[in-house]
């Protein structure tokens, strides 16, 4: 993508006041009282405030779903796209405008059902963006149908006698997809969410966070097993410190794909934190290199020169 020199960005470098949470608050969320998504939203405000990303460079994109209403509740450039295609849309934004900071928010249906293939291919191409999946194990907006993460036996409008199809394992899917940053968090753990947000944003590439976010309306209590104050356990991944200590042996190496896959297989409610991180050239960089090489070959020539030369070739 355009090397920063001739990038459209250069143009605007506006005088800017400090970004505050309040500047980010938009419409009052239409979510049900108690919906987990409120916390995911709050954490987003706080992280943006903390990192002081230039206000106009933040882009909030979503597909369709309760969780996907996100962009209306955030005062940033935003787009409410169609169901299941937010990832390719956001990939276009990121690739077309490397100066922007692109975020995608959506649900388990949007991301793993109709959007499942785009997730895989966006991940392997490693577009530079951050994707937050608010997983509530159910279709919320359409009112209680089975989702690809609904556990066996879950009674929904489309499985009145309980779900029969084996659900997907989001972490396994992500590890296989080739995503270069993969984390798992919980809407009831704001501190942890913020930490994951920050690391995902710091990561250069396709970063994904699955956040368990309860649908109090259609799947209340889904995540109690992972909420300490409800008698559940919220176990964190211990990452290698590289301090050579014997304990360190048993800590998780985030670069180890097979290990990440093993962690993904732990029994419910599983474990939280960063499963995997890998440094691999982003699609943005790879395309920028192609541009760079091409530019070098025709150095200095204007668009007019280039096209004119092509026409001359066709005489």
């Amino acid at each position: 993508m355009p090397s920063t020199t001739d990038s459209p960005v250069a143009e605007s470098e506006p005088k800017r006041e400090k970004l505050t949470r309040n500047m980010l608050k938009a419409d009052r969320p239409t979510w049900c009282p108690g919906c987990g998504d409120f916390a995911v939203l709050a954490a987003y405000y706080r992280v943006l405030e903390k990192l002081q990303i230039p206000h106009e460079k933040i882009v909030t994109v979503a597909g369709i779903g309760c969780s996907s209403r996100f962009p209306y509740f955030v005062k940033t450039h935003g787009s409410h796209f169609i169901h299941g295609r937010a990832v390719p849309f956001a990939s276009g934004v990121s690739l077309g405008r490397p100066d922007l900071r692109v975020f995608v928010f959506g649900g388990d249906g949007d991301g793993f059902s109709i959007g499942g293939n785009h997730l895989d291919h966006g991940a392997r191409k490693n577009f530079n963006l951050t994707y937050v999946i608010m997983d509530n194990f159910v279709y919320g907006l359409t009112k209680a149908q089975t989702s690809p993460t609904s556990p066996l036996g879950f009674r929904s409008k489309t499985d009145p006698s309980g779900a029969v199809d084996q659900p997907i394992n989001p972490m396994k899917k992500l590890v296989t997809s080739g995503a270069t940053f993969i984390a798992r968090s919980h809407a009831s753990q704001v501190k942890h969410m913020m930490e994951m947000y920050e690391r995902a944003i710091a990561h250069d590439g396709f970063s994904v966070i699955e956040i368990l976010s309860e649908c109090v309306e259609f799947y209340a209590g889904a995540f109690d097993a992972s909420i300490p104050r409800k008698g559940g356990t919220f176990e964190l991944i211990e990452e290698k410190k590289g301090d050579g200590s014997p304990e360190d042996e048993h800590r998780h190496d985030v670069c180890n794909e097979l290990e990440a896959y093993r962690l993904a297989d732990l029994p419910w409610p599983g474990i939280f934190g960063v499963f995997y991180e890998e440094r691999r050239p982003t699609k943005n960089v790879l395309e920028a290199e192609l541009i760079g090489k091409a530019r070098l070959r025709h150095n200095g020539s204007t668009d007019y020169d280039l096209l004119k030369a092509t026409l001359n070739h066709l005489k």
Binding site: M1, P2, S3, D6, P8, V9, E11, S12, P14, R16, M23, D27, H55, E56, K57, I58, V59, P71, Y72, K75, T76, H77, G78, S79, H80, F81, I82, R85, P88, F89, A90, S91, G92, V93, S94, L95, G96, R97, D99, L100, N117, H118, D120, H121, K283, E287, L290, I291, A294, R295, H298, D303, Y304, L306, L307, K308, T310, L311, L314, K315
Partner: protein, 614 residues
């Protein structure tokens, strides 16, 4: 060496040598296998025409089997304007028996059959044709020392043709050099040898004349460019400031995305091969939303997959260019044949009321200009623009005047200027001018671009009044454009008996049909529609000047006896004089077919329905 069988043919109709006949244009059909590189011959001839003062048009078929196989390449060269690839061939060059048997019907009476004596045994008793047996394979192998086997037959034939039509040998040598140098010394040398052998073949022993093109009628002071429709459209997009795109391969759209993938990086742009068409259109809309006008495209099956996202572009008012290189439908249909059956889908294929722009180029040159026009409209009106090309236009080569880039190129950069505090994306009284991400907005009320019905600020609403107003807003944009576009001109008779109406690549044959009819003193006119949605204004007036109106399209007559454009025009004008000449045989219209259609119809009474009182 020449085999006995040749001697026969040499004897049969031997003639006085060397006479030179001036011709206005000629149609040469090369028939062989796709592996013989007959395309190469065709494109050399086309390129030569571009550099000389001839006009040219080519036409080819693609073998339906993956392994390749029988295919033809037809070249029509002339000193006047060449409007179609020609109904019949003057020369048929047959490499194999099956080539001869399948295509002899395409040769006009008195036409010349040039055939490879190695493989072809024509029926010499059929006196309708002139037979020229040439040991193409034999001489080629001989000339090139057997090494390269029979590769090079095509260049041999090129030399043969150069001789027959007195073509400019220097220029052809130059072309060979330019194209083959890169492939290495040996290749070039072999080619030159093959060419010269072909050129040296004493064809004048067999046919009684050489041919010489008239000095051109059209003024050709400006320099010419030669390319096919897909390339012209691709370069037009670049000229129009399109720097981003995404697509998924499909015949015959693929070459456009392949060229863009190769060319765009030079311009600081990018083209992504997506995992499918749904991702492709989504990526493209992401680019456009980000301020970098993008293109996506496909053929029928892939276009059908883009219908949902296209509706979003209409609702969110995000510009986009969608190229549909039409092929034979429905479903997977006939991937390598031509058809114009996607017009209704282009206009009405998405759910809901989704007004969008539909344009169609009339020839290869127009592919270039219409792409620029599409880019302009998409930006000015913040709307998706669909370009309906077709398989024939995409693959045929034409020569046209080099476009004046200086006046044509559009600026690709997004407008990232600051916006005032009262900025809204969907003002009721004004046209949408999106503030792409990155643009600073006073007061920080950053907008959401959305596919839900919305108020001026982009907030979702189900307010009845607003839905009416926003629906009208999206519709009125197109009405404005309709006022802005030029009233199309009628060529040929300005009033009278019959008006042909066409769109897209039927332009050439229709022009020729009108010429032919008028030369017979008939009152025929031709109206070509470049803008299909919205339609230009004032059509009623034009129609009222003709007794009968025949809409000519390569699609089906439909349930009620009229094609797709015809239906739209009948609804628009309620003029019962509008009827249809359609076909779906997967081939371009022959001039003859059009005129026959007109004769078939003109007899019938105009069907009309009496209004009250009954």
């Amino acid at each position: 060496m020449i085999s006995p069988s040749d001697l026969n043919t040499l004897n049969h109709n031997r003639a006085a040598t060397g006479k030179v006949e001036r011709i206005e244009d000629v149609v040469i059909r090369l028939a062989g296998n796709s592996q013989d590189g007959i395309q190469t011959v065709g494109s050399f001839l086309a390129r030569l025409a571009g550099r000389s003062d001839q006009d040219v048009m080519t036409y080819m078929t693609i073998p339906s089997t993956i392994a390749g196989g029988p295919s033809i390449y037809q070249v029509r060269m002339g000193s006047g304007e060449v409007l179609s690839a020609g109904d019949e061939a003057d020369f048929l060059i047959a490499f194999y028996q099956h080539s001869y048997e399948e295509h002899i019907i395409a040769l006009r009476e008195g036409g010349v059959l040039v055939y490879d004596t190695e493989y072809v045994q024509p029926n010499l008793d059929d006196r309708r044709f002139v037979y020229v047996g040439v040991p193409i394979t034999g001489l080629t192998i001989e000339a090139m020392g057997g090494t390269a086997k029979d590769k090079g037959k095509n260049i041999f034939v090129l030399g043969l043709i150069a001789r027959i039509f007195n073509l400019n040998v220097e220029k052809l040598h130059d072309l060979l050099r330019e194209r083959l140098e890169s492939k290495g010394e040996g290749v070039l040398r072999n080619a030159m040898v093959a060419f010269d052998t072909g050129f040296a073949f004493p064809v004048d022993n067999v046919i009684d004349r050489y041919y010489q093109f008239d000095p051109t009628t059209s003024d050709r002071d400006k320099s010419q460019v030669t390319m096919d429709g897909n390339l012209a459209l691709t370069l037009g997009l670049i000229a129009g400031g399109v720097r981003c795109g995404a697509g998924y391969p499909i015949t015959p759209w693929s070459p456009i995305m392949e060229t863009l993938r190769k060319e765009l990086p030079k311009y600081g742009g990018v083209f992504v091969q997506a995992e499918d068409e749904l991702a492709a259109v989504s990526l493209a809309l992401g680019f456009s939303y980000a301020g970098r006008l993008a293109v996506t495209g496909s053929a029928g099956p892939g276009i059908s997959l883009k219908m949902e996202a296209l509706g979003w572009a209409v609702m969110a008012e995000v510009p986009l260019i969608v190229v549909n290189v039409q092929r034979g439908g429905p479903s997977t249909g006939l991937p390598t044949n031509v058809e114009q059956s996607d017009l209704m889908q282009a206009i009405y294929g998405s759910h809901g009321d989704t007004p969008r722009i539909v344009l169609a180029p009339k020839d290869v040159e127009d592919c270039f200009f219409i792409a620029i026009e599409a880019a302009r409209i998409a930006r000015d009106y913040s709307i998706p623009v669909i370009i309906l090309s077709d398989q024939a236009l995409a693959t045929r080569i034409e020569v046209f005047e080099e476009p004046n880039l200086k006046d044509l190129m559009l600026d690709p950069d997004p407008d990232l200027s600051d916006r005032p505090a009262d900025y809204v994306p969907y003002p009721l009284e004004r046209r949408t001018r999106h503030a792409p991400p990155g643009s600073f907005i006073e007061g920080g009320n950053y907008p959401v671009v959305t596919g839900l019905e919305h108020d001026e600020a982009g907030h979702p609403t189900a307010n009845p009044k607003l839905h009416m107003q926003m629906t009208a807003r999206r519709r009125e944009k197109l009405k404005r454009l309709a006022e802005e576009i030029p009233l199309p001109e009628v060529t040929g008779s300005q009033h009278g008996d019959i008006l042909f109406v066409g769109w897209g690549s039927t332009w050439g044959p229709l022009q020729e049909a009108v010429h032919r009819a008028r030369s017979k003193g008939q009152e025929f006119g031709h109206l070509h529609l470049r803008y299909l949605h919205p339609l230009p204004e004032g059509l009623q007036t034009i129609f009222s000047r003709f007794r009968q109106i025949f809409v000519v399209e390569m699609n089906d007559e439909g349930l009620y006896g009229y094609g797709q454009l015809a239906g739209i025009l009948r609804a628009r004008t309620c003029n019962p004089a509008i009827r249809s000449i359609t076909k779906t045989d997967g081939l371009t219209f022959k001039v003859r077919e059009i005129l026959e259609g007109a004769n078939r119809l003109r007899g019938d009474a105009v069907s009309t329905f009496s209004a009250y009182p009954y």
